[in-house]
Amino acid sequence: MIHSLFLVNASGDIFLEKHWKSVVSRSVCDYFFEALERATEPENVPPVIPTPHHFLINVLRHRIYFVAVIQSEVPPLFVIEFLHRVVDTFQDYFGVCTEAAIKDNVVVVYELLEEMLDNGFPLATESNILKELIKPPTILRTVVNTITGSTNVGEQLPTGQLSVVPWRRTGVKYTNNEAYFDVVEEIDAIIDKSGSTITAEIQGVIDACVKLTGMPDLTLSFMNPRLLDDVSFHPCVRFKRWEAERILSFIPPDGNFRLLSYHVSSQNLVAIPVYVKHNISFREGSSQGRFELTLGPKQTMGKAVESVLVSSQLPRGVLNASLSPSQGTYTFDPVTKLLSWDVGKINPQKLPSLKGSVSLQTGASKPDENPTINIQFKIQQLAISGLKVNRLDMYGEKYKPFKGIKYMTKAGKFQVRT
């Protein structure tokens, strides 16, 4: 089971350690530092690092490495999932998960970690339960506590801890009862030189913000549930009902949570909402290269493509770029060779383009590699897979809640090869 946890910042300093069994010397992290040194990029550190007596499993989040030390055979995914949960909890409690925030709240952090894991076994990882045990710090509460001497540690056993619905506390009360659902789809795609799709898939999630009094029992049905053949549910969803009727039936947690995530695989046809025309060429013996990019909408079901951001890692030999965008602004970082172009909205009548020349270092040979173009965009009010919610009903409570559903499509890892 998980023995210890070390938090390491970007400059390679351990700024927090927590041990759940006996104390493991922080020198164990030397193996991690070695791996860190070998890695070309911070994110290239291997997730599992063996040492003579331990294994180090690390995740990098918010520029902090969370390094877990384990000693016996433990499922690595178990450890990684737990570390993710730690990160989420910190973010939930402190708004951000940064070294400063953690140091500012070190005692709460310690109390949280102690509450989340006992002897390496996860104890309470649901945000609802944790918040009942340890109240999140707010400036007001800190002041009040200091004056009155009260504590930010709950004195009672959290109600959800052992109930059949551990994710929900009892006695929830709201004056405005509302339930919002966001259907967010991300397109991961690789488009080849000629513009044809090599692989495209959709990662979708339905995130919910439910503020409902009492113990509501919700059902959510879809117009086209057949799209959802590869789904991961929040534990609150009744799986049998889904299997039988393709209806999501659940008692929701209180507040924000991810109801389900789904995956529309590359075997289905995925609509690609933007296209890129590009011409990036270097000539042998010349220190100048041509650079032309034009973006256009494609299969957007009439919706506007917004917040478009194009970025590309140009070859190492590139010295500078002198380009002119038809709209938006571009930057080129001559050190990292990262070109990024903030396009904004695509106007189908007047397609945005970025044209000009790039200069190579004098004497540098024609670059071997072709840059890949990364595109980010958003399309409001559209789930590109075609998923549509049919209706949302509530049982178990008498009031009429306010319900809302929003759709959005975003680019995930959307890459165009040149």
């Binding site: 041990h19 599992v48 995914l77 995956h263």
Partner: protein
């Protein structure tokens, strides 16, 4: 005080009030200040002081000096303060064991608190105080908490048992906590069940003897019910536990699968992967024509694909596991090739894994796509990745014949890029393609030769030289090319030198007239000017061959080479089976069996049961950490022998070797060659390959190709070695578990045997039948007693040149009636160079005849070639039965009853164990300590042993503190046994 005023200031200014204030230090000395504050009367001040202490602790400062002051704050009704003090206690109790006792009272009191949260907190913290002295005070409160009315307290207490076991295992057993824990599996609350399972699993890991997780259909049913209702973490524990169960039949298997399948849709990837493990394992039992089997296969793909859209770390672990799954059941993901396509900003560790799986999934149907992708990758920035992509193209060519032409042209395109490392990798893989498809793509040789000058890596140079030598007749200036390499002969690496030597000899045999000078030059360079024995040996062999009989030399050196196999770096099947049982674990990430690398505090036990038909890896001998002969060879093969062996094997064997008569060892063969000239070489050539096997590790065919190539290009790590993640480590693991053909049986063997008694000592295997006496069959073995079953663990090695089949075994009558309890299960024919491990269960109901020595066993083994006889001696401890613990009274009576002249005295020397350890050790071999007495610093242990034939042996062992020599007195009605019992004592205590 200073700090307090600072606090007031903060409040006055309304500035941000955060915990960072706890880090501010004062000039006077922090500890001193804190001490004063901790002893303050004001509650609030106390709490703030404890917070400061905790803050210091988190950054690794030593604040243990404040122990008494902090513990004084423990008696409080302020829960936050209590928690903080507990946090402190857990960290420092160990360093202040005497002080820690101060805390005991509060724990005991808190365990009675009306608030379940406080009861749980107390029991939780108690277990974390890792101080031996106080653990016994904690037993009573823990016992109460295990039976608490509140499930929250019970589930916390369950974990506490595991903690306590880690500190003092004996205590936990004596107090009966393990039984209570087992009862909790039937608890009404699913969380309690999950925690009980988790605790038991953890204890079982360090406690192989106990049958802790005794899984039967009833408990399985309870677990499956709890599975639906407990938290995600609990689900992982339960699924991992389920994976150890062995269903009785396919119907039970199916019903478990059906109930586990919904877990595949869980949001927690660890739950998903644990569920995949259970399904992959239980699927083995389902008949393939069952509809459900097909449904299940289909259901497995989507969750695996989904794992790949998660964060990169999760992807990495998922990919390592998918790599196993794809090898075991390629059909699951055969249509999902595209999800493994690499995104340019994937971390390198994800890229490399994806690439590996792409090649495994490559087939005629998708090869075009795959090749286009690989070509794309070959132009990326990351050098490691590019190299691997180029090699992957070569692997595709070898795997999918239809694509070979396209692969070659892709490789040629890449060579045109002139990117140095791309060219070198391409040449290395083209050499493999030539090996696979001889006389097909030689037209590209000209292009390759153009790049000769840019090659600076040994592997690429060696590959190029091999190509030039192999096709010397088609390359007009082959002699010039090779000569150019010869200039810097002594600066080249061994690999290149060996290759150059062979290539020039080949050239000479093909174009003898114009290259005489060249060959003489290289032979003298290799033999006279080199210090490298491999090179010298190879040079001498060629020299003699050439000078004595050029025709024979031609036959030998230019012999047709065996084709290389399609799939390289596949994980050896037995290991794969084991790893499938460990999906989701560290073992699956490293593709090594858990025993090979997880050190843990006590080591991890193999999950398997003994003696299922035909299986039986080298069994416990490797577990116990003995370097038995089955394990040693891979490690100790000297590279010299390897290379020379390769050479002989490759170049001599195919045309001539027919009759296997294995006699001289490797060394002898080589000596003859050098001393006796060509005659002996030709005379011995059929022996030498046999001799070669003497040093060859018992590796099955997956190694075959590598070896062949190794011989050819001088021991270079072949393509497979470069690509596969593990090959470098594989031989070791293969050596440890070399059984082949165990198949399905093994899979279940691995699964079922949690908590198998493995305590008894098992001697390392010794060679019983030498290959030269067994017409090529070598048998080594040992005896073991596992869970009351006597087993003979055999390793059969075929060192002859032909396949062996039809194995059978028989024993001569012997002193204790040992006889095989079943036939010798060697299911598959034993092919040359193959090694198989077999466990033969023995019974004691055979015919009895007194042997000399008493423990002598005469064995006959038959195969399709002949019947072989050998004799071996078994340790008498084999016959010590499990119920050999005599009642005290009976012991006393019996002791007196046996005449004094039947008593034998022995000295066991040089044992540095205390009496408890010794007694524990002996108990592992069924020598039971009945009573212990301490007289004047001398421990007297009274022990009893019962043999399978009902003979009782009583012993008294005297241990004097500080004296490494034990005195042993043994009484038995059959005095001739005493000597052998003594030998067992010695064996057990010394190992």
């Amino acid at each position: 005080m200073e700090w307090a005023s600072q606090l007031c200031e903060n409040r006055g200014l309304g500035s941000k009030m955060t915990d960072s204030k706890y880090f501010t230090t004062t000039k006077k000395g922090e500890i001193f200040e804190l001490k004063a504050e901790l002893n303050s009367d004001k509650k609030e001040k106390k709490k703030e002081a404890v917070k400061k202490v905790i803050a210091s602790m988190t950054v690794g400062k030593d604040v243990s000096a404040l122990f008494p002051d902090v513990v004084n704050c423990m008696q409080t009704d302020n829960l936050e303060l209590k928690k903080l003090v507990y946090l402190y206690l857990m960290n420092y109790a160990k360093s202040q064991p005497d002080m820690a006792i101060m805390a005991v009272n509060t724990f005991v009191k808190d365990c009675e608190d009306p608030n379940p949260l406080i009861r749980a907190l107390a029991v939780r913290t108690m277990g974390c105080i890792r101080v031996d002295k106080i653990t016994e005070y904690l037993c009573e409160p823990l016992r109460k908490c295990l039976k608490d009315e509140d499930p929250y307290v019970r589930k916390t207490a369950a974990v506490c048992v595991a903690k306590l076991h880690d500190i003092n295992a004996q205590l936990v057993e004596d107090q009966g906590f393990l039984d209570t824990l087992k009862d909790l599996i039937s608890d009404s609350n699913p969380m309690v069940v999950a925690n009980a399972v988790a605790a038991l699993s953890e204890i079982a890991e360090s406690h192989p003897n106990s049958n802790l997780l005794d899984l039967n259909p009833q408990t399985i049913n309870k677990l499956l019910t709890a599975l639906n209702e407990c938290t995600e973490w609990g689900q992982i524990f339960i699924l991992d536990c389920l994976a150890n169960y062995m269903p009785r039949d396919d119907r039970e298997s199916q019903s478990i699968c059906e109930r586990v399948t919904p877990r595949l849709s869980h949001a927690n990837s660890a739950v998903v992967l644990s569920a995949v493990k259970v399904l992959m394992k239980f699927m083995e039992m389902l008949p393939k024509d069952l509809d459900y089997y097909g449904t299940l296969l289909k259901k497995l793909a989507p969750p695996l694909v989904t794992l790949l859209s998660a964060e990169p770390e999760l992807q990495y672990v998922a990919l390592r596991n998918i790599n196993l799954i794809v090898q075991k059941r390629p059909e699951i993901l055969k249509h999902e090739m595209k999800v493994f396509f690499v995104k340019y900003n994937d971390p390198i560790y994800v890229k490399l894994e994806k690439l590996d799986i792409m090649i495994r999934l490559a087939s005629q149907a998708n090869i075009a796509q795959v090749l286009a992708e690989l070509k794309e990758y070959a132009t990326e920035v990351d050098v490691d990745f590019v190299r691997k992509a180029v090699r992957a193209i070569g692997r595709c060519a070898i795997k999918v014949e239809q694509s070979a032409e396209r692969c070659v042209s892709t490789l040629l395109d890449l060579i045109q890029t002139k990117v140095n490392y791309v060219v070198q990798e391409a040449i290395v893989v083209i050499k493999d393609i030539f090996r696979k498809y001889p006389n097909k793509y030689e037209s590209v040789i000209a292009t390759l030769c153009e790049n000769l000058d840019s090659l600076d890596e040994p592997e690429a140079r060696a590959a190029m030289i091999w190509i030039v030598g192999e096709y010397a007749e088609r390359i007009d200036n082959a002699d010039e090319l090779l000569e150019s390499f010869l200039e810097g002969f002594h600066d080249e690496s061994t690999q290149v030198q060996l290759q150059l030597l062979t290539a020039i000899v080949k050239l000479f045999l093909k174009k003898p007239t114009e290259t005489q000078e060249l060959v003489q030059q290289v032979l003298s360079l290799a033999t006279q000017d080199s210090d490298n024995p491999d090179l010298r040996d190879r040079g001498y062999i060629y020299w003699r061959l050439l000078s004595t009989d050029p025709v024979a030399a031609k036959e030998v050196v230019l012999a047709e080479k065996p084709l290389i196999s399609e799939e390289t770096d596949l994980i050896e099947p037995t290991l794969l089976e084991e790893l499938i049982c460990h999906i989701g674990t560290l073992a699956s990430v490293y593709h090594k069996p858990p025993s090979a690398f997880v050190e843990g505090s006590r080591g991890v036990q193999h999950k398997r049961i003994p003696a299922r038909a035909g299986s039986g890896e080298s069994a416990e001998s490797s577990d116990v950490g003995q370097s038995g002969p089955s394990e040693a060879p891979p490690a100790v093969i000297p590279s010299q022998g390897d290379l020379l062996g390769d050479l002989l094997n490759l170049d001599l064997a195919p045309p001539t070797a027919t009759v296997p008569s294995v006699q001289p060892s490797m060394q002898m063969g080589a000596m003859d060659l050098l001393g006796g000239g060509l005659d002996s070489l030709m005379g011995d050539d059929s022996d030498t390959p046999g001799g070669r096997t003497e040093v060859q590790s018992p590796q099955p065919s997956s190694d075959y190709r590598e070896r062949e190539l190794g011989g050819d290009i001088g021991g270079s790590p072949s393509m497979g070695a470069g690509l596969g993640a593990a090959p470098a480590a594989m031989p070791a693991s293969l050596g440890a578990a070399p059984a082949v053909g165990g198949g399905l049986g093994d899979l279940f063997d691995l699964g079922g045997g949690v908590g198998m008694p493995t305590g008894s000592y098992v001697a390392p295997k010794t060679v019983w039948l030498l290959a030269m006496k067994g017409k090529g069959l070598e048998i080594s073995g040992t005896f073991a007693r596992r869970g009351g079953i006597i087993q003979m663990d055999l390793t059969l090695t075929n060192k002859a040149m032909s396949v062996m089949t039809d194995f059978a075994i028989q024993f001569n009558r012997n002193s204790f009636g040992l006889a095989p309890a079943g036939p010798l299960q060697v299911l598959t024919p034993l092919s040359p160079n193959q090694t198989i491990d077999v466990s033969l269960p023995l019974s004691t109901s055979g015919p009895v005849m007194k042997m000399e020595p008493l423990n002598n066993l005469q064995v006959a083994v038959k195969n399709n070639i002949d019947v072989f006889y050998f004799s071996c001696q078994y340790p008498l401890s084999l016959l010590f039965v499990e119920d050999g613990k005599m009642d005290r009274q009976v012991f006393l009576a019996t002791w007196k009853d046996i005449p004094n002249e039947n008593e034998a005295h022995f000295q066991i020397k040089d044992i540095h164990l205390n009496s408890d350890v010794a007694s524990n050790k002996l108990q592992g071999s069924n020598i039971f300590t009945i009573a212990k007495r301490t007289v004047e610093g001398q421990d007297m242990l009274y022990q009893s042993v019962k043999l399978t034939n009902g003979i009782w042996v009583l012993a008294e062992m005297r241990i004097q503190t500080g004296n490494p020599n034990y005195t042993l007195s043994i009484r038995c009605r059959a005095p001739e046994v005493c000597q052998f019992v003594y030998l067992c004592y010695e064996l057990v205590l010394k190992n």
